[in-house]
Subunit: 353 residues, 2 copies
C-alpha cells in the first residue's frame, strides 16, 4: 500500500480552466487526504485561485508553463506546438518520469490521446488505445468501451477491447469472470457489421481466462446492466454515451416541468423532495465523469471538458482509485494472458494480420 497518491493535474484544460479544476482538486482532497498534486499551467491563472484554497495549496506543487493546448486544435497541431512544454505534455511526462502516479486532464481529447501515446507508448500487443467509461445501470455499473479514442475498429481491435474492458471490470468490480457483450444492432447472429460478426465468432470460440463472452447486446441492454462490459467501436460508443446523457437531461427537464405545472404537483414535490434529491443524485452525470485511457503504459484520466468542480473531483477520484488499488498493474496481468488467447484465435481464423 502506497503512503500517498501523486496526481499530475493539467490545470489549463477544459472549458473553464484553473477556476474550476482547482476547486475540483480541493473537493477530491477532502475525500482523499493522501493525495499530493503536481499542478501544471500558467501561474498567472493558478496562483490567484490557489491562494483562496489554502488546504489545496499546502498539498500542491505548481509547475509553471505558459503553453496550453487549445480545445479545438487538431492532435497534430497540438503535438507540434505543445510537445515538451504545454501543461498537458508536462503532466503526462510527470507520469512517464515516475514523478506522478496518474495524470488527469480535462483538455482536448484528441491531443491528450496523441501526447499520451507519443510519450507513454502503447502496451505491448495493443495497437489502438481506448477510452473506457463507467456507465450507471439498473444493476450497478458497467464498463463501456471504446467511447471515442479511435474510430473504425476491425475484429482484432474489438477483441483487444474485450480483453482490456474485461480486465478493468474484473479488477474494478471485483468479479472473477465478468461478462462481456458486443454492441450490435440486433441479437440475431445474422445482423451487423462484418467485423462485429467476426469478432463475435472469435470471442465465442476462444477460451479466455478472465471473462465470459455473453454474445451480442443492443443499445437498450446497456442501461439494464445485461453485461459487465460492453464492447463497441469508438464512433458508435461515443454516440451511445452522449445520447444517453442527452436523454437523461431531457427526462429530467420533463420531470421538472411536470412537477411545476399544478399546485397539487408542487405540493407533491414538497412531500417527495427527499426522494427527488436521491433521484437527482442517481441521475447526476457528474458522478460518472472521467474516462480511463486503456492500452497505455500509464494511467491517464480524461475529465469532461465542460465539467464543473464536482465533475472534476469525480474524475480525480477515479484516477485516485486506479492508483490506490493498483488497477493498472492488475489490468496488465489480466491483459497479458487474454491477449494471447485473442491473438491465437485471430491467427487461427486467418483474420489477424
Amino acid at each position: 500500500m502506497r503512503d500517498k497518491v501523486r496526481i499530475a493535474l493539467d490545470a489549463m484544460g477544459g472549458d473553464h480552466g484553473a477556476a474550476v479544476i482547482l476547486p475540483g482538486a480541493d473537493i477530491s482532497l477532502t475525500r482523499h487526504p493522501d493525495i499530493e498534486y503536481l499542478l501544471f499551467g500558467n501561474r498567472a491563472a493558478i496562483d490567484p485561485v490557489l491562494d483562496g484554497l489554502p488546504r489545496l495549496k499546502a498539498k500542491s506543487k505548481v509547475v509553471h508553463t505558459e503553453v496550453a493546448i487549445r480545445m479545438d486544435d487538431k492532435p497534430s497541431q497540438a503535438l507540434r506546438y505543445g510537445r515538451w512544454k504545454s501543461s498537458m505534455w508536462l503532466a503526462i511526462d510527470a507520469v512517464k518520469k515516475g514523478e506522478a502516479d496518474v495524470v488527469v486532464s480535462a483538455g482536448n481529447t484528441g491531443a491528450l490521446m496523441a501526447m499520451a501515446r507519443f510519450n507513454l507508448k502503447m502496451k505491448e500487443g495493443i495497437e489502438r488505445p481506448a477510452i473506457a467509461a463507467l456507465w450507471p445501470t439498473l444493476k450497478g455499473e458497467s464498463v463501456v468501451l471504446d467511447v471515442g479514442a479511435s474510430i473504425g475498429a476491425d475484429e482484432a481491435d474489438l477483441i483487444n477491447l474485450a480483453v482490456m474492458g474485461g480486465a478493468m471490470a474484473r479488477v474494478l468490480f471485483d468479479i472473477d469472470r465478468p461478462t462481456v457483450g458486443l454492441l450490435n444492432i440486433g441479437v440475431e447472429e445474422v445482423k451487423g457489421l462484418e467485423q462485429v460478426r467476426e469478432a463475435g465468432r472469435i470471442l465465442r470460440e476462444g477460451q479466455f481466462s478472465h471473462f465470459d463472452y455473453h454474445g451480442f447486446v443492443e443499445g437498450d441492454d446497456i442501461g439494464k446492466g445485461v453485461v459487465d462490459v460492453v464492447v463497441t467501436e469508438g464512433f458508435a460508443g461515443n454516440i451511445a454515451l452522449k445520447t444517453a446523457e442527452g436523454t437523461a437531461h431531457q427526462l429530467a427537464s420533463y420531470l421538472r416541468a411536470a412537477m411545476n405545472r399544478t399546485w397539487a404537483a408542487r405540493l407533491g414535490y414538497l412531500f417527495a423532495r427527499q426522494a427527488f434529491r436521491t433521484l437527482r443524485e442517481k441521475m447526476d452525470p457528474r458522478k460518472s465523469n472521467g474516462g480511463v485511457f486503456l492500452g497505455l503504459n500509464g494511467v491517464v484520466i480524461k475529465s469532461h471538458g465542460g465539467s464543473d468542480a464536482e465533475g472534476t473531483a469525480a474524475a480525480i477520484d477515479m484516477g485516485y482509485d486506479m492508483v490506490r488499488y493498483e488497477l493498472l498493474t492488475k489490468i496488465g496481468e489480466s491483459m497479458t494472458r487474454d491477449l494471447k488467447v485473442g491473438t491465437s484465435a485471430l491467427s487461427a481464423s486467418g483474420a489477424g494480420s
Copy 2:
C-alpha cells in the same frame, strides 16, 4: 383528398402476432374511421381475434396464407420461402398492385426491407433505403435516420439520407426549410470518420433547395432538438435509438423506486399523480413507435416487434398520416430536386462514383 385510407396489415408479424396486432388495428380505427384494412395471415390465428372485434371485422378483408416470416430468419432465407406467398410479401404486394396505400408490419426488419426493395424497387437516384424514426425532443420531434436499414454509409449515402430526411421533416412538420445535422463525435471539423467529414463538406457547400445544413451534432444534441433532422449511418443510428430507449426505461425505474421509498414520497406521489401521468405519457416509447422506410416506391411502416396493441396503433397511425397527407408524393418532389444538387456536388468533388 382521398375518401378512405387502405392499409395492408401483416397480421403475423412481431413477437405476439394477430393477438396484439388486430387489437392495435382496432384502436387506430376508432381514431380514423376512414381506414379500411386488408389483413394478411393465417385465418386460424386471425378469425378468433377478429370475431371479438366486430367494428374492426366490418372494415377488414382477410387474405389467408399459411406462410409467415420467422423473426430470426436471414433476409435471403425469408425471400426464398416467403416470396409470393407469405403474409409479409402479400401485404407489400397489395401496395405494389395499388390495392392498398400503405403496408404496416411488425415482422423481421431485414426480411421486410429485402421484400420491399425486391417488390417495390428503390426510387430513382437512391441506392440504399433508410429507416427514419420520429424522436421526441425538448422542442417537439425530430426525424432521425438511418436507424438500421443498412450498415456502413459512404458520403453519397449520407447526402441521400440528408435529402430524404429533410424532405420528410419538411412535409411532416410543415417547415419550409428544416435544419439538418450530421451526427458526429465532436462538433469540431477535425474529428470523425472520413465519410462523415466529406459529407459535411459537401452539405455545407451545396445549395440545397429544401433544407439548411446546420453542421455536426453530437449524441446529446438529438434530445435537445438542436436540428429537425439528424443524419447518421444505420449502425450508429440504431444504437443511438435503442440506447435512448434504454436510458428512458432506466430513469423511469429509478423514479418509481424513489417514489416508493418513504411514506412522504408516496404521499407526494399521490398529490402529483396527474403530473406523473402526463410525464409517463411523454416518456411512453409506444407513442413514437413506427419506422418509415424511405427510398422505396411505396409507403412501408415497420412497427417494433415487441409492440403491444397501443404501440401497433401508433405505427398504423403513422402510416395513416403518411397516406392522408400524401407525404410520399411530396417527399418525392423534394427529393427529386435536392438529390440532383447532391449528385452534382458529389461529382464536382470527385467523391461520387
